[in-house]
Symmetry: C2
C-alpha cells in the first residue's frame, strides 16, 4: 500500500560529513526500534496511555454510530460548519480536502453537503460565513474534548445565537457535539439542550483523533467512505508488528532520529498533490506537538523535536527549493508521491508550432508531476541534502487511512525512542492561562498560581 | 501605518546565553544598515539591478493600463483563472484573499468575478475546475515572464484547448497574457493570437512582482482598490530613507541578522488573521528564494538563509506553539497583529449559565484574537524565545500595500548586509533541467552540459 524510497538517504551521495550508512544504521538500531514498537504495543490497552488511536480504527460499533448520525443529518442540510481548532479540525479538513471533488463547494449539483472548518477566532470569517449560509439548512458540529477551548466556545456562542435567532427552539436539532463521553462541560450542556452527540474516546488526544468521531463525522457527512478509510488504517496497524528490516514505519522513524542527531533540526513534508495539501498541516501538528518537549520522562532537559515545514509540490519548487538546495544543510525532506491520478489529464497539443510547449503534448499531468518530484529529489541529493519518498498508489480513502495511521505510528516510535511523553502538551498551558487572564475568566488566578508553583514564571 | 513592538527581543528577558542587547546592537549596526539602504538606493535606477519594484509602485501609466484592461474584462466574465506558479501566483493570491469577502466565492450575488489561482500541475484540480466554469464567462490570465515555465505552460495548453473547443476562435478574447515586454515566447505568441497583454517589467523578478501587473491585474479584477494598495506601498518606500533609529524596516532586518548569527536558523511568520494566511506563503517565498544562497557575491561558500515557517494565529497555537515554546531554541517568531477587525463581532451571552463560557460575552472576537497573540508572545519570551510584532491598523488595501513593500525592503536589506545576490535563484536550475530531461524537452542535453561545466553534477 505504502512503500518507501530511501535512495537519497544513503551516505554514498551524502558524503562523509553526514556519516550515515543506511544499511549499517538500520542493522545497528533494529533492536532499539523493535523494542520501542513492543513497548507501545504493551501499553496499548492501558486506559491512561493515550494509545486508543491504535484500537479505535477497529471499533465497528462506534463507526456505525458515526455513519448513522451522518446519514440522518446529511439529507437535512446543505452545509456543515465544524467548530474546532488544532486536532479537532485538521484531521477532518485533511480527509475532506483529499477525497471530495476539489471544487465541491462550487459544483452546481452537489452529491454531499459542503463542510466548512472554522478554526480561528476571526470575526470577519465567522460573520462572512453566516452570510452565505441558510440557517434552516445548516448544522454545526462543535468539537472539544473538555468544552473549555476558548476559540471553539466563542465560535459556538456566535453560531448558537445565530441559529436560535433564525430557528427558535428548533436550533437544537442543528447541533452535533463531539466531546468527552463523561467529563467536561459540553456533555452535560448537550444533555440539557438535547444535542446529538458523539464521543471523543477518553484514551485519544486531539492530534491522534482523525480516525475517531472527531474526523470521521465531518468526513462521513462529506460523503467519504469511512469504512475504506478505516480499513486502510488497520492495514498500516497490522504491518506494524514486522521486524525493522521489513517495517517501513520503523525505517522512516529511524531516518528522522538519525538526521536529528546530525543537526538537521528541520523536517520538510512535501506531498506532490494539491489534494494532499492539508496532510502537511495535519502532519505538522502531529509532529510538533508530539515531539517538541522541554524535558524527557526522567525530567532531563532535552528541548527535543525537529521543526516540521509544510510544503507542496510542485508549487513550492518555485518558492522554497532554492533555499532547500543552496541554504544551510539543516533539512531532511519527506516527499509524498502519488502513482495514479484521480482522472487522467493528457496535455493537448494546443500549440503545435511552439517547440517550447509541444514536447509536453500527449504526456499526462501526473507524469509531469512525478518527473518534477524525481528531479527535485535528485537535485537535492546532488547537493548532499537527504530526502526520502513515500509512494502511495492513489489518493483514495484506503490509501489515505493507511498514511494517516502510518504517520501516527511513526511519530509515536520517534517519541518512544527519544524517551519523551509523546502525548502531552504542557507548553501551551501558560499561553492559555494568560489569555484567560486578559479576558477575565473566573479562576485564572488559581491557574496562574499553579503554573508558578510548577516553576513557570508568568 | 506599521509599527514594530520589539519588547520581546531584548536581552533582559532572553538571558545571557543569547547575548543580545537590542539598543546597543542597533547603535552598533546603524551605520552598516544605513549603508546597505544607501547601496540599494544607488543601484535602483540600474536596469540590471532587479530593483524595479521600488519604482513600479509610482508608475501611474502602467497602473492605468491594468485598470483599463480589468475594467474591460471584468463585466464579461464570472471567473478569472490565473495560471502562474511561485511569484506569478502568490502575490495576487495574497492580495485577493486578504481584501475580498472571505466567502466571496459562495456569495449569491457577487460584486466582482471569482478569481482562481492554479499553481500546480494537478490534473484532478485542473479538470475539476473546468467542471464548475462556464467557458463563455471565463477568462484566463497566463503569467510567465519567459513563457517557458513548464507548470504554467502545461496548464495553459489544457485551458486553451478547453476554451477553443467551447468557443471556437472567440477564445482569443478570453486570454490575458502577463509576460516580458520584449523577450520570451509568450510575447510573440500573444501578438500572433491577438491576446490582450500586460508587461512584467524587465527589472522585476517573480517574488518582487506583487505590485506590478502580475499581482495587480488579478487584484483589480477581484475588485481591489489598487490605487490604495500602491499608495500604501509608496508610504513604506518613502519612509525607507530614515536613519536606523527611526527606521522600522532597518530595525526588523537587524533583528533577523542578529538572531541568524546566534544560531536561530528558523524564522516563524505568524499573522493573527485568517485573511492574511497567504501573506505567510508570499513572505516564505520572498525570504527563502532571496536569502537561501550557496555563495556570496565574492564566491565564498556561505549557505545563507534562515528557513521561513508559515504559521497562523490563533490556529497554530493548537498545533505549533508547543514546539516553539519547549523545543530547540532555534527560532525567531514574527507576529502580525491587526488592531481593527473588518466588522466587529461581539460575542453573545448565549450560555448565561455556563461560567466557562459567559466570561466571553460582550467582548469582541478581535479582542480575544489579540489577547491570544499577546499571551503567546509573552509565553515564548518567558521561555527565552525571541519574537517581535508588526502592528497593522486594519486589513485594508493601504495597510496591505504598506506591509508588502515593507517586507520586500526588509528582505533586500538583509541580503545586502549578507553580501549575497538577493535577486537570483540558481538553485532551481538543475531540478528544472532534470524535469526537461525526463519529459524529453528538446535541447535539454545542452542545458545539462552547461550546468555540468558550471560545476553541478547531475
Amino acid at each position: 500500500m505504502l512503500t518507501l524510497n530511501l535512495d537519497n538517504i544513503d551516505v554514498a551521495r551524502l558524503g562523509p560529513d553526514q556519516g550515515l550508512r543506511w544499511k549499517d544504521e538500520l542493522r545497528a538500531h533494529a533492536e532499539q526500534l523493535e523494542r520501542a514498537a513492543a513497548e507501545l504495543e504493551s501499553r496499548r490497552s492501558d486506559p491512561q496511555s493515550f494509545l486508543g488511536w491504535m484500537d479505535v480504527i477497529s471499533d465497528s460499533q462506534l463507526t456505525a454510530s458515526v455513519k448513522e448520525l451522518a446519514g440522518r443529518v446529511s439529507p437535512a442540510i446543505d452545509d456543515l460548519v465544524v467548530l474546532g481548532i488544532g486536532g479537532s479540525s485538521l484531521g477532518g479538513l485533511t480527509v475532506v480536502t483529499a477525497l471530495q471533488h476539489p471544487y465541491h463547494q462550487l459544483l452546481r449539483s452537489r452529491p454531499a453537503p459542503r463542510v466548512h472548518f472554522v478554526d480561528n477566532v476571526d470575526g470577519d470569517v465567522l460573520l462572512g460565513l453566516m452570510e452565505v449560509l441558510d440557517p434552516a439548512r445548516t448544522a454545526i458540529n462543535v468539537i472539544s474534548k473538555s468544552g473549555t477551548t476558548t476559540e471553539t466556545m466563542s465560535a459556538y456562542l456566535l453560531f448558537k445565537d445565530w441559529l436560535s435567532r433564525a430557528l427558535g427552539d428548533a436550533y437544537r436539532s442543528h447541533v452535533v457535539a463531539t466531546t468527552d463521553p463523561v467529563h467536561g462541560i459540553l456533555r452535560p450542556l448537550s444533555s440539557k439542550e438535547g444535542f446529538a452527540t458523539l464521543p471523543v474516546p477518553a484514551n485519544i488526544g486531539g492530534r491522534y483523533s482523525v480516525l475517531c468521531p472527531v474526523g470521521l463525522f465531518p468526513a462521513a457527512v462529506a460523503g467519504v467512505d469511512i469504512d475504506a478509510l478505516l480499513a486502510g488504517a488497520r492495514e498500516a496497524q497490522a504491518s506494524f508488528g514486522a521486524k525493522a528490516a521489513e517495517n517501513p514505519v520503523l525505517q522512516a522513524a529511524l531516518v528522522h532520529l538519525l538526521y536529528a542527531k546530525r543537526g538537521k533540526n528541520i523536517c520538510v513534508f512535501m506531498p506532490y498533490s494539491t489534494r494532499l495539501r492539508y496532510l502537511s498541516d495535519w502532519f505538522a501538528q502531529l509532529w510538533a506537538e508530539s515531539l517538541g518537549k522541554e524535558v524527557d520522562r526522567l525530567g532531563s532537559v532535552v528541548h527535543s523535536g525537529t521543526t516540521p515545514v509544510k510544503a507542496l509540490g510542485t508549487t513550492d519548487q518555485h518558492s522554497q527549493v532554492q533555499l532547500y538546495r543552496e541554504g544551510p544543510l539543516d533539512k531532511l525532506t519527506v516527499f509524498v508521491r502519488v502513482e495514479k491520478e484521480g482522472r487522467p489529464a493528457p496535455i493537448p497539443n494546443a500549440e503545435p508550432d511552439q517547440p517550447d510547449m509541444n514536447y509536453l503534448a500527449g504526456r499526462r499531468m501526473q507524469e509531469l508531476m512525478n518527473a518534477e518530484l524525481a528531479a527535485t529529489a535528485h537535485a537535492l541529493a546532488e547537493a548532499r541534502r537527504p530526502s526520502y519518498t513515500m509512494h502511495l498508489p492513489a489518493i483514495d480513502a484506503r490509501a489515505l487511512g493507511y498514511i494517516l495511521q502510518f504517520l501516527m505510528l511513526q511519530t509515536a516510535v520517534v517519541g518512544e525512542v527519544l524517551g519523551i511523553d509523546t502525548f502531552n502538551q504542557p507548553g501551551v498551558e501558560l499561553g492559555k492561562v494568560l489569555t484567560y487572564a486578559l479576558m477575565g475568566r473566573p479562576g485564572y488566578e488559581t491557574q496562574l498560581a499553579e503554573l508558578r508553583q510548577a516553576g513557570v514564571k508568568p
